[in-house]
């Protein structure tokens, strides 16, 4: 697993990222190197700096110091749009959906935008080809029966899936999932992660996901970054990280055995 980190240019690399909001240090010397096709998870208590990391990588925030490299080129100063265009997509802790549009239309928007040409005033959004592709995507995430619904009519799980499905329309090289299962009913968590991971691995997407549920962490990620107070306090295979006393003290707060029960 972690051996693959040395081969080829890493898909995503950060060097000494620093970010602070006033007195609060949200990121302190964050240096990681994520190889192609890796599936890593980010753990840590709220305010540990996970989401800040995601926001910096995806251009929502700019680090005070440090650089971010995507496939070797510097994307530190790019905004969300450029980062997305470059091939880094993300999902959101609170799914970011178009509340006034139906599920299908949300995906159609994503497809229209994913199109290398800017959205045309003359090309119909609902032409059959586009609708077919949209339905494929919905099917892949098993939410096709919701296609006509509005966001308010959807369960948390479906929203999460739609949110990720839309991000997938741009065929990203790197995907950052911000708490993909938060707020989702316990029994839905694994099915959702299965669907998502299946879709991601099928397209060989390098994936980082923020997660609080240690079972999901151990089950899906081949490496774990443990954040505490804006720092990475552990960076290793799941079992090693979860058995790390510092991690147990600051992140999981217990022995992993209890956490999993």
């Amino acid at each position: 697993m972690s051996t693959s980190a040395s081969t080829g240019t890493p898909a995503l690399e950060t060097r000494g990222l620093m970010k602070s909001f006033g007195a609060v240090t949200a990121a302190h010397d964050i240096t990681v190197s994520v190889p192609e096709r890796a599936v890593w998870s980010l753990i840590g208590t709220n305010g540990a700096g996970k989401t800040t990391f995601v926001n910096m990588v995806t251009g929502y925030l700019h680090p005070d110091q440090g650089t971010i490299l995507f496939q070797g080129q510097d994307i530190t100063r790019l905004g969300p749009r450029e980062v997305t265009r470059a091939g880094i997509c993300r999902s959101f802790q609170i799914p970011q959906l178009c509340s006034e549009l139906t599920v299908l239309e949300n995906v159609l928007v994503a497809l229209a935008i994913a199109d290398p040409k800017p959205p045309s005033f003359f090309r119909k959004a609902r032409e059959s080809a586009a609708e077919d592709r949209a339905m494929e995507i919905l099917k892949r995430f098993r939410i096709e029966e919701h296609r006509g619904r509005l966001m308010t009519e959807l369960s948390a799980g479906v929203r999460k899936l739609l949110d990720i499905a839309m991000s997938m329309c741009g065929h990203p090289k790197v995907m950052l999932l911000d708490e993909p299962t938060s707020g989702v009913a316990a029994e839905e968590k694994f099915p959702i992660m299965d669907l998502v991971m299946e879709a991601l691995t099928a397209e060989n997407v390098t994936t980082l996901f923020v997660e609080h549920d240690m079972d999901i962490v151990t089950r899906y990620s081949d490496r774990v970054l443990a954040f505490y107070d804006g720092r990475i306090i552990a960076d290793d295979a799941p079992d090693e990280v979860l058995s790390d006393p510092q991690v147990q003290r600051y992140v999981t707060g217990t022995a992993p055995a209890e956490a999993s029960s």
Partner: protein, 314 residues
């Protein structure tokens, strides 16, 4: 494909209705319809922006530019051909909208509204100062000619009305396709979640700028027709209350349906005209009450009465 032909049918139907109605209407109603439809084009411009969540309180800017193009060409260049005048004012608004669009595209909500308002108020100020252009009194505009044909009396009002009808139908059809296009859908997405649109890789600024320019051109066309129909242009065209009425019509119609905008505009003209006759001392109050009742009873505008965009899939 099916939908396209659907629009074709609708357009032809609309045209038939307008022409038929026009021939049947008495002069005063014909004129009222012409003005109503022309002003509706301006409100339609606001609707285009509303679909992306922006409401401009300054469409009077382009309404006024369009009207003054007609006025100045007629007075200083002796140009009265309605087709040429329309073309020129569209170009003028395209140019000016192209300048302000990208600037205003950075603003949202109330700031966009108020900034566009102040732009049109600046034009109002400038025109009021330009005594060479008649200052606050404005200019009279010669009656338009139609590719050499120079009608008078009823023939004039009728030709003007028919010209307006054609333009209205054409623009209606174009915008319908535009609303259903990728750009149209992305605009709706911008309306409900800008952040998502940026994170899908599209430029919200670009979307807004395009919509602004489109609405600028619509404002110009509305202005040129109104200017020619009224036969007089003055800075009032750019005054904030004028823009306010366009916004009112846009809100009254809602952003769902295009025909609704024209209906709303005509209704406003009727209410205004009759409240003026029957309540000369309290017509403003009547207008105000009407406005409040509409906003309270039809939160999504008239359009929501005869347009459901909620059956998503099928």
């Amino acid at each position: 494909m099916k939908a396209l032909s659907d629009i074709r049918v609708a357009s032809l139907l609309a045209l038939a209705l307008l022409i038929g109605g026009g021939l049947a209407l008495p002069d005063w109603a014909l004129f009222l319809m012409t003005i109503g439809l022309a002003k509706a084009l301006v409100s339609l411009g606001i609707v285009v922006q509303m679909r992306a969540g922006l409401v401009s309180f300054g469409q009077g800017l382009f309404f006024c530019i369009g009207a003054y193009v007609a006025g100045l060409m007629a007075n200083f260049a002796g140009l009265t051909d309605i087709f040429v005048l329309t073309g020129i004012s569209v170009l003028a608004c395209l140019a000016i909208g192209g300048i302000f669009g990208p600037l205003l595209a950075n603003y949202r909500g109330i700031f966009f509204a108020m900034l566009s308002l102040s732009l049109s108020m600046i034009l109002y100020g400038i025109l009021s100062k330009m005594n060479s252009l008649g200052g606050t009194d404005g200019l009279n505009v010669a009656a338009p000619t139609f590719a050499g044909y120079a009608p008078e009396g009823r023939a004039l009002s009728l030709s003007l009305y028919l010209y307006t009808s054609f333009i209205v139908v054409a623009i209606g059809a174009i915008l319908r396709t535009g609303f259903d296009s990728q750009h149209g859908l992305v605009s709706l997405a911008v309306r409900s979640n800008e952040l998502r649109v940026e994170y899908l890789g599209a430029s919200v600024r670009r979307t807004n700028a395009i919509n602004y320019v489109i609405s600028a051109m619509l404002g110009g066309i509305g202005g040129v027709i109104t200017g020619l129909a009224i036969g007089h242009v003055d800075p009032e065209y750019a005054y904030w209350t004028t823009s306010g009425e366009f916004v009112f019509v846009a809100i009254l119609a809602g952003y769902l349906s295009i025909p609704a905008v024209f209906v709303a505009s005509i209704i406003l003209e009727l209410v205004r005209s009759f409240s003026n006759l029957y309540f000369p001392n309290t017509w403003q109050m009547v207008l105000g009450v009407f406005l409040l009742v509409i906003i309270l009873t039809l939160p999504n505008g008239l359009g929501s009465l005869f347009h459901r965009r909620r059956e998503g899939g099928s």
